[in-house]
Amino acid sequence: MHVWLDIMMIALIASTSLLISVRFILSAVYWLAFQSLVLSVLTLVFGLAAHQSELLWIAGLTLLIKAMLIPVILRRALARIGLRRQAELALRRETLIGGVIAMWLIGYYVTPATPSLVGSHMFLSVAIGMLLSGVLVMITHQKAMMQGIGLIVIENGLFLAALSTSLGMPLLVDVGIFMDVFVVVLLIALLTVQIDELFASTHLARLRRLRG
């Protein structure tokens, strides 16, 4: 049992780290989908282990929205602006890898000692690590779309944190969060496409008209 949990944990870590350092935005989207898939499976496992029917619903929602709908939306938006768009980094890939590792370590260090109900205490640190890595994505990437992806990584991290500390938020809250995330992604896709139309690029350096 725990072996599987550890495997999934490693899968999460790996997907996040890879997601940060991809060359093409599209592959980032795929990694995101994979990550969400792992999360939904994890939710399912937790739900079965704790005999919580709510969690099964949430797992389903995760699968539906995060692992399917969101990637599809992002891919279609990407298709509008060109699938081969590169995810440009603000700094060298090696340093970024260092940054990722740092994030994981910070996540491990700052985790408050809350005895979690299921799974190992590691999951929380992984969650916080994911959250931080999401921030790292948003800070280091030059393309608008990647920031959106970073945002979703943060959401995933939060989801995992909730899951690992208290078997997820109350159902209503979780549903609300899913809705928000979904609309946010819609908005991101919309804006990215329009930005690309107006600026002929989604490079953030273009988005610097408003200052002072």
Binding site: S116, A161, M169, L207, L210, G212
Partner: protein, 492 residues
């Protein structure tokens, strides 16, 4: 009977939003819009009245929780909504006439407008802090559409920054809530009401302090980003300046306060616990920081709407400082300040909108001699500006005086003295910016207002801000004091 109001308050705007999308004749849509506004306001007033009479109330088996504090904010939001809603009619009509907006966009505008207000009402009425979070995130999404409505480069950029910053900031607030939730579960066992304000208000003191501090810090920063506290405020001027002016009024007058409400709730939880000092100092420091950071941007600003936005940052700093002082007197002053700032600032934003449409520029140096060129706008700008900077007899004078007095009484003499000096500096900067627009020789000839919708509504908040300075109707003062008591952790 009173249980129905919350549902109405949520339902009416949503229905109106849906109806606004239906392609009907302009007059019909106008009627729908106005009816929606009035109906919502009416039900909010009804709810506020019941709360004023009967105190805090829980309905829908504890899903909704409305106490004087939320009632005051509901009032603020609905007043600002009503006014900017009426103003929007003339404003959007003008934009359509100028071809800035298509008719389709006009429909979307009103749809999102009402959806946005609905989310804000939700924030102010739910009991579960998780739902509060969801609603606040909802306000971001809905208002982002409104910010981007012009589809111009700057508008898109502003919307993008707004969305990215607020969503990522608020994510941390969610983490904080998760910690709160889990620790509540650890202490009191699992349960669905573990995130309810009513539950936590009774039990928060028993939760482990380090965890409370961590989650407070996270929530503070998260919601603080939305409130526009320095140094998290950078989305604010962009969004305020690029949104249509009625929306800017809504953002500044309603949204910021709604986000601040989120912080207030958490502050209430922690106020009389072991973690009070942390809360107090954090609030004081960030309040002063917002004042200090707002000053240079305000002083050198050339864009009228950005200038007003930075003044909002300043005002949020004042409010947070008042919260940090942490006595009932200061809380009352904070409520007063909040209310009057909402009124004056929304007036100013809508006047700015009129000026931008009249002068066809946002550049302050190009907007001169308003008093001569367009007496109505000039007078409103002058009066509202004086009310904003806290000149007597307007209420902000009293509230600021009360906040500083409370600060000295609460034993923060140096902080409060610094606060006073910053206020004086900001007074100067704001007066300078407004003065060089209102006075001087006009750059344009005498100008008229396109529509009466853009002028008359402004008189309502202005009148309120003026009257409250010299006389406060008894029910209102009752409500405000109730809110102050709520913030002081009593009435529970």
């Amino acid at each position: 009977m009173s249980a129905i109001w919350p549902f109405m308050i949520l339902a009416i705007p949503l229905v109106t939003a849906g109806a606004s999308l239906v392609p009907l004749s302009t007059r019909r849509r106008l009627a729908i819009h106005i009816m929606g506004l009035l109906a919502t306001s009416a039900s909010v007033f009804a709810l506020a009245a019941t709360v004023t009479a009967g105190g805090a109330m829980e309905t829908a088996s504890g899903f909704f929780f409305v106490d004087p504090l939320s009632a005051v904010l509901l009032l603020v939001v609905t007043l600002v909504t009503l006014i900017s809603g009426l103003h929007s009619i003339g404003y959007v009509r003008q934009d359509v006439a100028h071809g800035e907006l298509s008719v389709r966009q006009e429909r979307q505008y009103f749809a999102w407008f009402h959806a946005f207000t609905a989310t804000m009402y939700l924030v102010l009425m739910v009991n579960n802090l998780g739902i509060t979070w969801v609603a606040i995130e909802g306000t971001t999404v809905t208002s982002a559409f409104l910010v981007a409505i012009y589809r111009k480069a700057e508008a898109l950029e502003a919307a993008w920054k707004y969305l990215i910053l607020c969503s990522s900031g608020i994510a941390f607030a969610l983490l904080g809530l998760i910690f709160l939730y889990s620790s509540a579960q650890d202490v009191y066992g699992p349960g669905s009401n573990r995130l309810d304000f009513t539950f936590l208000a009774r039990t928060a003191h028993a939760l482990p302090t380090p965890l409370l501090l961590t989650s407070f810090a996270l929530i503070f920063v998260g919601y603080g980003t939305k409130v526009g506290l320095a140094p998290l405020h950078f989305w604010l001027p962009d969004a305020h300046s690029q949104a249509p002016s009625p929306v800017s009024a809504l953002l500044s007058g309603a949204l910021l306060n709604t986000a601040l409400y989120g912080i207030m709730r958490i502050v209430i939880l922690l106020l009389h616990t072991a973690s009070e000092p942390f809360v107090v100092h954090l609030s004081l420091v960030f309040g002063l920081l917002s004042l200090a950071v707002a000053f240079p941007f305000l002083l050198l600003q050339q864009d009228i709407k950005r200038m007003l936005a930075f003044s909002s940052v300043e005002q949020m700093g004042i409010l947070l400082f008042g919260i940090g002082v942490g006595t009932e007197a200061s809380f009352f002053a904070v409520i007063l300040q909040l209310f009057n700032h909402a009124m004056t600032k929304s007036t100013l934003f809508m006047t700015a909108g009129n000026l931008v449409q009249q002068y066809r520029t946002k550049q302050i140096p190009r907007i001169r001699g308003v008093l001569s060129a367009s007496p109505f706008s000039g007078t409103v700008l002058l009066v509202a500006g004086l009310a904003l900077v806290g000149a007597p007899p307007f209420a902000i004078f009293s509230s600021e005086l009360a906040i500083t007095a409370a600060g000295f009484a609460a034993g923060h003499p140096f902080t409060t003295a610094l606060f006073l000096l910053l206020l004086a500096a900001l007074f100067g900067a704001t007066l300078y910016q407004l003065g060089r627009m209102v006075f001087g020789t006009p750059t344009a000839v005498r100008m008229t207002h396109p529509s009466r919708w853009t002028t008359w509504p402004l008189l309502l908040p202005l009148a309120l801000a003026t009257v409250l300075g010299v006389w406060m109707p008894h029910p209102l003062s009752e409500l405000f004091q109730g809110a102050a008591r709520v913030m002081d952790g009593r009435l529970l």
